[in-house]
Amino acid sequence: MTNLKRMIALLLVLAMVAVLAAGCGSDKQAQKKFDFPKKPINLIIPWAPGGATDTVGRAVADAAGKHLGQSMVAINKAGGSGSLAMEETLKAGADGYTVCLTSATVLTVQPKLKSTKYTAADFRIIANIVQNPLFLFVKGDSPWNSVKDLIEDAKKNNKIIKVGHPGVGSANDMGSTAFFQAAQLKTTEVPFKSNGETIAAIIGGHVDCGAFHPMEAKEFVSAGKLKILGVFKPERVDFYPNVPTIAEGFKEAGIDFKYKNTDFSAWYYLAVPKDTPDDVYKFLAEKIKAAVNDQAFRDKAKAMNMVIKLLEPDQIAAAVKDIDTAYGQIIAETGKKGN
């Protein structure tokens, strides 16, 4: 008898746990007439808290809250190199209440590397928020002072260059892969969990080089711990006018950089599922642009060494297509593969 009671109690506990878990799902419904937004808007960030993308996302959510008339809530959904957040956004529905922060690598590279439940075509980009330029770095006391030094030394001594990056298919990985593929040098790629760990590995002498954004790396340059060899852009950047482009470096070494017209900078976009109603999309696009133009946001972007250059939708589409083609070529030629 008591045993039966105990079994019932146990079953009850299990049932309660299941009910509670099931009750956690969120309600989603489409809005009919335009009184958007009626409730806070979720911004899904595809990475864990901390780091460049997360910092940008939080800053833009903060600024957007002032313009949208409702707050924008940053929610981190890390996993699958960003793809989990994209799938969650699509699942949440095209009502405009779920917006995701994304980048060209998440949108275009991940679907090429593995079987994701989305492609870039499933999204409509609201606005380009900031651009995070990519540079090639080596250790501060490295004998290489230029792209030419690196290429010539590696070729002459038949060196295998150890390249660090914070994840297969990241913008950093794509940039450095493009570099060594174009230079036809032998490399070993050593992946780490974050930019911080990768930089630590270069400074500690465990790997030879890596591609990073200035937000993570510039303090190490001022302290002499890291050295910049070049920028992965068609033209030089304002804040490092003396840093040559990678293509310039290749030219010095007598090679034509086949991606010389490609901008490898990481663009951060806000996007919604493609079926989002037009009026909601336009409203969001207008307000997000206003938020990006907000002085407080501009100050934060500047502190992070990121570039703000708002583009029109067709320009954004062209930029995404451009980098998609370049990434596709790099992946096809190096045989980078997930599953």
Partner: protein
């Protein structure tokens, strides 16, 4: 030295301003709360409060956010001790003896020794941070993939039989943990392994839902089957709520050893606080004159690990402040916060932003004292929870665990993971399998696998660079000694058995 003292005094002068004191207090209170609530960790709390600090002075903001971080290490042990649910991963090992102490009516003693040990270790960690930050940070950089591999091997050998039950059972659990750790995206190739097409699984088996399930939920299920009577917990006189003299005497060395183990562990990337608490537990068991008490409510098993994880979290501030390199998720968030405030911490931070560095150091001293003062009176409140009827307490605990699991990644998936691990843990309990080695395998699996594969990548397939790197060679020498020692003991046992035929 005089310069240090002068700078520290200036730091204190700044930290004692009303604004900064309030910020520090808010930070440590929130930290304690996030520590107490299982699943809700410092990373989430810092992320949530970051926008609040935008309006503050950058130093004040950093004081608040740092307070949450080290404050959370204080609260983590509370639920481990009271209901066998670790508040943070680093408090898992506190369950082993803390919960047993609570069952014997010594919850108050366990909670107070955790608070005191945390305070001592935290403060010692700050002294280390203050005096040796730059050279220690440089040392941390010499830790590359081969060093991780060696550390993984050494730790697996040391920790595989943490609780000292049947060796084969523990080994089976460690290997199960290592196998589970292989799920998710392979960091080297980017390929998903064993995910069965479930995107949620691509980030692997999350540590905290696994621990909360294996320990907490399993315990709740066990209590549902055989509820304990509240009167089991003997009435405690106020005088005996805190530490008895004998308990105090037994805790002094564990606290000291725990601090010394935790501090260097905190410098390196990875689950430092978690590993340091396990290592401290193992050390205490080894040094103890009565190892048979471990797992049955030995106070050393609470004092050591809780000191170790706090020393580790103080030390984790060193790579952040001295180099600008965050090696733990909460410090990564602190870095992000600083950058938004326009302060870019890097190798020159201590020299260029000396005032801010000393302000933070001073605030950490103050914060740790506040935490002690805050936590000791709470001991009585928390300890009285053991008098709550299980049919009231347990559902509340389950509710909090579900919210906590959800809040980790805002994901229902983690709740299901916790429930699955809960049922598995429940079955293991009855089959007499210990969950701790499984978690050890889960944590050390990646360190071992990634370390080995990266080492081989770096050396083009040769294992020679293991011998040529000093730290790696030392760690492997230690591992060899452990194996030799275990082998020797085993031989001794065999000989003794032969001499005395049964």
């Amino acid at each position: 030295m005089e310069g240090t003292l002068g700078s520290l005094l200036q730091g204190f002068a700044a930290a004692l301003s009303a604004n900064n004191l309030i910020a520090c207090f808010i930070g440590v209170v929130i930290g304690t709360i996030t520590g107490v609530l299982p699943g809700i960790g410092p990373t989430g709390a810092i992320a949530l409060l970051l926008p609040l600090t935008f309006g503050m002075d950058s130093g004040t903001g950093l004081i608040l956010l740092a307070g949450i971080y080290y404050g959370s290490m204080y609260g983590g042990s509370t639920t481990s001790i009271l209901v066998n649910v670790p508040g943070e991963a680093a408090s898992m090992v506190t369950c082993l003896d803390g919960y047993q102490m609570a069952k014997k009516g010594r919850a108050g003693a366990a909670l107070s020794v955790a608070a005191i040990g945390s305070w001592f270790a935290g403060t010692l960690g700050i002294v280390g941070l203050m005096l040796f930050a730059p050279p220690l940070a440089e040392m941390a950089l010499s830790f590359g993939p081969p060093e991780y591999f060696a550390l993984g091997v050494c730790m697996l050998l040391l920790l595989s039989n943490l609780t000292g039950a049947s060796f084969s059972r523990a080994l089976l659990m460690v290997l199960t943990g290592v196998l589970l750790s292989m799920m998710g995206t392979d960091i080297i190739t980017g390929t998903d392994r064993f995910t069965f097409g479930i995107t949620d699984l691509s980030s692997g088996v999350e540590l905290l839902p696994a621990i909360m399930g294996l320990f907490g939920l399993a315990e709740v299920l066990a209590v549902a089957l055989t509820p304990y009577a509240v009167s089991d917990a003997a009435k405690v006189k106020f005088r005996e709520l805190y530490l008895k003299k004998e308990e105090m005497k037994r805790s002094v060395w564990p606290i000291l050893r725990g601090s010394l183990i935790g501090f260097p562990m905190g410098l390196i990337p990875g689950p430092a606080a978690f590993l340091s608490s396990l290592l401290s537990y193992k050390a205490e068991k080894q040094f103890s004159k009565h190892p048979e008490e471990f797992g049955k409510g030995a106070i050393e098993g609470v004092a050591g690990p809780e000191s170790a994880n706090n020393a580790a979290s103080s030390a984790a501030m060193i790579p952040l402040l001295a180099l600008g390199l965050p090696f733990a998720p909460p410090t990564a968030l602190l870095l992000g916060g600083l950058i938004i405030h326009g302060v870019n911490p890097g190798p020159l931070f201590i020299t260029q932003h000396a005032d801010m560095f000393w302000l933070v150091v001073a605030s950490m001293y103050l914060g740790n004292v506040m935490l002690l003062v805050l936590n000791l009176p709470l001991v009585g409140v928390f300890a009285s929870l053991t008098k709550v009827q299980p049919k009231v307490l347990m559902p509340v605990v389950v509710g909090i665990m579900i919210v906590g699991a959800y809040s980790l990644n805002n994901s229902l998936f983690d709740i299901w993971m916790m429930i699955i691990f809960g049922v598995v843990g429940f079955v293991m309990k009855y089959a007499d399998y210990d969950p701790a080695p499984l978690v050890v395998g889960l944590v050390l699996g990646p360190a071992f696998e990634e370390g080995l594969r990266k080492t081989l990548l770096m050396s083009q397939g040769s294992l020679m660079n293991i011998a040529t790197r000093p730290i790696t060679a030392t760690l492997f020498a230690i591992s060899a000694l452990i194996i030799a020692w275990v082998g020797y003991r085993w031989l001794q046992g065999v000989r003794r058995a032969r001499r005395q035929p049964a």
